[in-house]
């Protein structure tokens, strides 16, 4: 435990994601204003807040799916950004996301007519990753989906679909995972398994920003960021 923590602390000076001065307005309601968040390597951030506080909106802004009203997000591969532009002190005024990050949202991104293997292979190809069948079968076996590899995803249970979606975490080589309610519809052992994956990734220097309405049972220190519900 202590060993892992000390490994973690070695990374914490590397900034993976820097968002400054973000505001988001939905249906004439300000969800958050001048919100800043920095995610460092080896950090597990738990984003909490009541329903409608804007957690999903924030995550979508951070990955670049939505534009913030003000502010900006910088996500860069630290190895490539030795220039001063990514010191973390300057305020980004527009989005600059030039390193792939993993975002798994409420929508799972699985086509119901394609099997789990086909869905994963397609997704990996979209990220420029070549996969082979054996690798994907082994991966799905780790996620407790033996025998369901060739079943159309639409016929899997909600929890099984969630597992297929989360199997992507093991396909893409990246430094940042952004997970929106990854534990939804997972059983107890599934939650523990995913939490283990998250912990391993963070221990190896990954950065994770996730939302969950449950308390995280992590073996690593968890930083909690709270979004208030604003009227």
């Amino acid at each position: 435990m202590n060993g892992k923590t000390s490994i973690t602390s070695n990374y914490t000076d590397i900034l993976r994601l820097n968002a400054q001065g973000l505001s988001c307005i939905k249906q004439d309601r300000i969800l958050f204003e001048d919100f800043s968040i920095q995610v460092h390597a080896g950090e597990l951030i738990h984003l909490v807040g009541p329903n409608g506080a804007g957690k999903t909106s924030l995550l979508r802004i951070l990955v670049g799916l939505s534009e913030p009203e003000t502010g900006g997000v910088i996500v860069t591969d630290a190895a490539r950004s030795e220039t001063a532009s990514f010191s973390g002190t300057e305020t980004p005024s527009e989005n600059k996301i030039d390193y792939p990050l993993l975002y798994l949202g409420h929508k799972l991104g699985l086509n119901q007519y394609l099997s789990s293997v086909e869905n994963l292979a397609y997704w990996a190809n979209m990220h420029g990753i070549a996969t082979d069948q054996h690798e994907l079968y082994a991966l799905l076996a780790r996620f407790n989906l033996v025998g369901l590899e060739d079943v159309p995803s639409g016929q899997l249970s909600a929890g099984q679909q969630r597992r297929v979606s989360l199997a992507r975490t093991q396909l893409l080589h990246t430094h940042v995972w952004i997970l929106d309610e990854p534990f939804t519809s997972l059983d107890v052992s599934g939650v523990a398994f995913i939490q283990d994956l998250v912990d391993d990734f963070v221990a190896q220097g990954g950065a994770v920003l996730m939302t969950s309405h449950q308390a995280l049972q992590s073996r690593l220190p968890v930083k909690t960021v709270t979004l208030e519900y604003r009227l």
């Binding site: 799916l65 939505s66 949202g105 991104g109 086509n111 086909e118 979209m126 070549a130």
Partner: protein
Amino acid sequence: MKSVNPLTSIIKRDLVLAYRQKAELLQPLLFFVMVITLFPLGIGPGPETLQKVGPGVIWVAAILSALLGMDKLFRDDFNDGSLEQLQLAHVSLSWAMFAKVFVHWCGSFLPLLLISPLLALFLNLTPAMYWALIQTLALGTPLLSLIGAIAVALTVGLQRGGVLLSLLLIPVFIPLLIFATSAVDSAAMGLNYAPQLAIIGAMLCFAVAITPFAISYAIRVSHH
């Protein structure tokens, strides 16, 4: 590591999906065939009458059947989140959209082109007219797909985009309809119809160059 081309896997995936949802693929085609089969029964089998209305009927049926199938172009991908993931992926969204539209054209218009000789027979078109018709269809239907995809991308986030889609698209398709039927009319009179074809071809070139950007922008706006 083996390198992969994301565009070929998009094309492969969409073709597989089209094959697995054959009923959805067949619906617009059946609509097209039925309209053209019913027309001679409705207006009487006079060869001259049929020849006169034939090109217009085929083109109107093609446009309406396009609208029928168009709606589904991005809907599933939008609803299940695949489009969202595609935006985050390591691939140019414009190229990805172009690939998707290409597969959509192959699935919904290529069969229509293949079946058109039979329909030309139903409507008593002369070989010269048929030759002109198939050329206008070959140039014009990709244009329907490309322009239609912009409107589909814009309305995909709406709950009932279907009606809006037709209202948006029908006026845009009118010039195409006019030039296409005028080309076939010219062919019927033995005139040169190259100018009409050239105009449709120019519209197609312009659409190929511009629409992928418009479609990907519309997709981003829909996700906003």
